[in-house]
Amino acid sequence: MHAALDRAWAAVDRLAPAAPTSRWRDLFRTAVAEIAANIIRHAYPPSGTARPFELRVLVYPDRVVALFADSGVAWEPADEPAAPDPLELPEGGLGLAVARGALDELSYRREPDGRNVWRLVKRFPASA
């Protein structure tokens, strides 16, 4: 996953109107990692060893889009914990909130063929 993103940065550098800052890259990488972790944790039974998912990173002139697809169980929006209070020192349940905060768009779709698709969008910063 990290290697796939490293490859995507080369395309980002060619297409982005201004080179995104390292903070912009960190945010996108963080969001991608959180969604991957969410799939690994929730889409597959704990006993299963293989937890395959597909990741495509699409680079457009104005944004980068990551698409995750897996064939695990459907994600129930109700499974998402309420945003925990940082003062309570939460040890889990932060992943989707982190991803959402790092992105411009995050959406989930259950396809009729039984696949889960997560779509992550982050727009390039406006060129100076």
Binding site: H2, S22, R23, D26, L27, R29, T30, A33, E34, A36, A37, I40, R41, P86, L87, L89, P90, E91, G92, L94, G95, A97, V98, G101, A102
Partner: protein, 112 residues
């Protein structure tokens, strides 16, 4: 993920992590740091300078160790945050409760 523990002055211990602290490594890292606390080193400084990526599982591990240390009458401080660590601390608003120190030296200052 590599982990080394060094004794520091004043009874604090410096935990140096290297690699990624994420879904894959968080459980073991937490367990080893909690064992350090249970072994009597209740005040930890975690040097994050060589950790190139932290996800929410990794932060959860740090929070778990922080709780264990406080329960034992100690504490945990993090030092040398990378830009990515600062970003995820802000996104989770955990920067309010886990404010990173710029250097290990600063984290050790007044840590009795």
């Amino acid at each position: 993920m590599e982990m080394r523990v060094e004794a520091a002055r004043g009874g604090a211990a410096i935990v140096r992590l290297d690699g990624r602290l994420d879904l894959v490594t968080a459980g073991e890292a937490k367990q080893r740091m909690v064992e350090t606390v249970e072994g009597g080193q209740k005040r930890l400084v975690v040097d994050m300078g060589s950790v190139d990526f932290v996800d929410s599982s990794g932060l959860g591990a740090i929070i778990g160790v922080l709780k264990a240390a406080r329960q034992a009458g100690g504490d945990l401080r993090i030092a040398c945050p990378t830009g990515q660590l600062r970003s995820i601390l802000e996104l989770t608003m955990l920067d309010r409760v886990l404010r990173p120190y710029e250097t290990v030296e600063e984290a050790l200052t007044g840590y009795e």
